[in-house]
Amino acid sequence: MNAAEELKNALPNSVVSISFQLDKPLAIIKKEDILKAATIARDMGFVHLSVITGIDYCDRYEVVYNFLSYVRKQNLVLKVILDHNNPVVDSLTSIWKGADWLERETYDLVGIKFSGHPDLKRILLPEGWAGHPLQKDYDMKTEQFVTIGDDGEDIVSTDGSNLLRRKYHGN
């Protein structure tokens, strides 16, 4: 019995389906129950949260959690499918401290919100950046520029006249 099947036995109502991601057991979880499923996965020995990936499929968002058990030497992949209009999922920061930045990054670049996250703000791009770059409909044509305000924090605008010394040749 692989890890995804174990998880389905433990939480029959939360697991939508199980399959494989190449050779890694994959379980698709109802989005309300991800916190419950992750807790059980941790208790099963999957103590290492490798990565959180958010993917924009134009009609839906998917958030993929890759776990590894050091002791069992096995993988487990959890996946939640989110609505495209309002992508919100529970945060895992209460279980893994390391999930903090991974979730912030997913929010920053993909635009998925994590409810219950202690400090959900942008991490790689400055505050005020318009759009989430890894969304498929992100506007790559409009150049955004960053300047420093009086308090030393970033100000984002599409007008780079304070910064540039000549006409900017963009894409």
């Binding site: 991601q21 190449l22 890694k24 103590v47 290492h48 949260l49 490798s50 990565v51 990936t53 993917i55 924009d56 993929v64 890759n66 590894l68 050091y70 030497k73 993988n75 992949v77 893994w96 401290k97 390391g98 999930a99 903090d100 930045w101 991974l102 990054e105 670049l109 942008r122 991490i123 790689l124 791009l125 400055p126 770059p133 890894l134 992100y138 030393g152």
Partner: protein
């Protein structure tokens, strides 16, 4: 005595932050009460570029993630693509890959130790380290024509076979390195000032380290003997005799010692790989159009198709890079370009633990602990 809290800003241009990283420290006198890390000053949008380039075009960008050890980056991406497309790799190519990755691991650890010592105020080690690095880079250059950004490992194999006289030169370098390593240890290991700066600084327990998602030498410094090369053996690592180096203390000194031990282990691996290097092809053929060039004078002369299309699917593939677990999550929709590339970079995840490590310490301790985590900002910001 009552003191006011002071917000101290460190960076993004600061000589000992290994790049453009910024700490916003809340200080109570000399003591760090809270450390907030502000990053993104080197965010180059690599993941978006991954969606805009074909599978092969993206390989050079992986070089520029962790530019001190670019070869494992190449490999991690290529491994993910190979798993996705089901490409077999000939044995000789795997041996060359592992050899060159272990060489890169040594180079990475040398630079890491050198810059750590320089941050602490000792300039000798970085001069020594760069001396050995320079000769190693000459080997890389001989192999693939580049010093830092290689673009050497390709799906199905490697780009070039070993040049003539490479192995003897590598053996010479290893012999030299062994002698130099003794010098390093004599210089640093028992240095009293070094002990005072490193011991019991930036301590993190095994439980916490796993909870924060630390990997690589930073995790093994906390006594957790988990090495991806052992847990999920890839390439030819199952056939090689080596051990995962650990130290139980979990402080900065332990992490430093783990790196020194790993240099020794890597030399050990290198020796085994060189001794049992098989002959044969360096690139696989007949899969996704990767085939030997027709009518070529030599069987090792090959070309790689510029464009190939794996099946639709998803893969997460991880390796043990010098800094920790490096993984690529690739979603393919069956076209020539990946639908989504996600990079799980070791530096980014290891950096998460810094605020926890330095709480209650002083600023020089922050520099020491930060140096032993060994981050590269290209890897953090991507």
């Amino acid at each position: 005595m009552e003191t006011d809290e002071l917000i101290l800003n460190m960076g993004p241009v600061h000589p000992s932050t290994h790049g453009v990283l910024r700490f916003r420290l809340r200080m109570d006198g000399e003591i760090i009460k809270n450390c907030e890390i502000v990053m993104g000053y080197l965010h180059r949008g690599t993941e978006k570029l991954g969606e805009m380039k074909t599978y092969l075009q993206f390989i050079p960008y992986t070089d520029r993630l962790d530019y001190i050890s670019a070869m494992p980056n190449n490999y991690a991406y290529v491994k993910a693509v190979e798993e996705l497309a089901g490409i077999e790799v000939p044995q000789r190519a795997e041996y060359i890959r592992v050899m060159i990755m272990e060489l890169n691991r040594i180079v990475n650890h040398i630079v890491s130790i050198g810059s750590l010592l320089m941050d602490l105020g000792a300039a000798t080690m970085i001069m020594w380290g760069f001396r050995e690095r320079e000769t190693a880079l000459q080997l890389f250059e001989q192999l693939c024509g580049a010093r830092m950004t290689f673009n050497y490992i390709k799906p199905g194999g490697v780009r070039e076979d070993l040049p003539e006289g490479f192995i003897p030169k590598l053996r010479e370098w290893m012999k030299d390195m062994e002698k130099r390593l003794v010098d390093y240890e004599q210089l640093i290991n028992d240095n009293e000032i070094f002990h005072m700066r490193m011991k019991d600084i930036g301590t993190i327990s095994a439980q916490e380290a796993i909870n924060y998602g630390l990997t690589g030498p930073s995790l093994r410094g906390s006594g957790v003997d988990y090495d991806m090369r052992k847990i999920e053996p890839y390439s030819i690592y199952p056939d090689i005799d080596f051990k995962a180096c650990t130290r139980p203390e979990g402080d900065s000194y332990a992490r430093y010692i783990v790196r020194i031990d790993e240099i020794k282990e890597s030399l050990q691996i290198l020796r085994q790989v060189i001794d049992s290097m098989p002959e044969g092809k360096i690139v696989s053929n007949a899969k996704y159009g990767i085939a030997p060039m027709t009518g070529s004078p030599s069987s090792v002369m090959t070309y790689f198709p510029r464009i190939f299309t794996p099946h639709a699917g998803e893969v997460y593939s991880r390796i043990e890079a010098p800094k920790g677990e490096l993984g690529f999550y690739i979603v393919s929709d069956g076209t020539t370009k990946p639908y989504r590339v996600k990079i799980r970079s070791p530096s980014f995840c290891n950096l998460t633990a810094i605020p926890k490590m330095v709480q209650g310490l002083r600023i020089p301790d922050l520099i020491a602990a930060f140096g032993t985590i060994d981050v590269v900002l290209g890897d953090v910001d991507r």
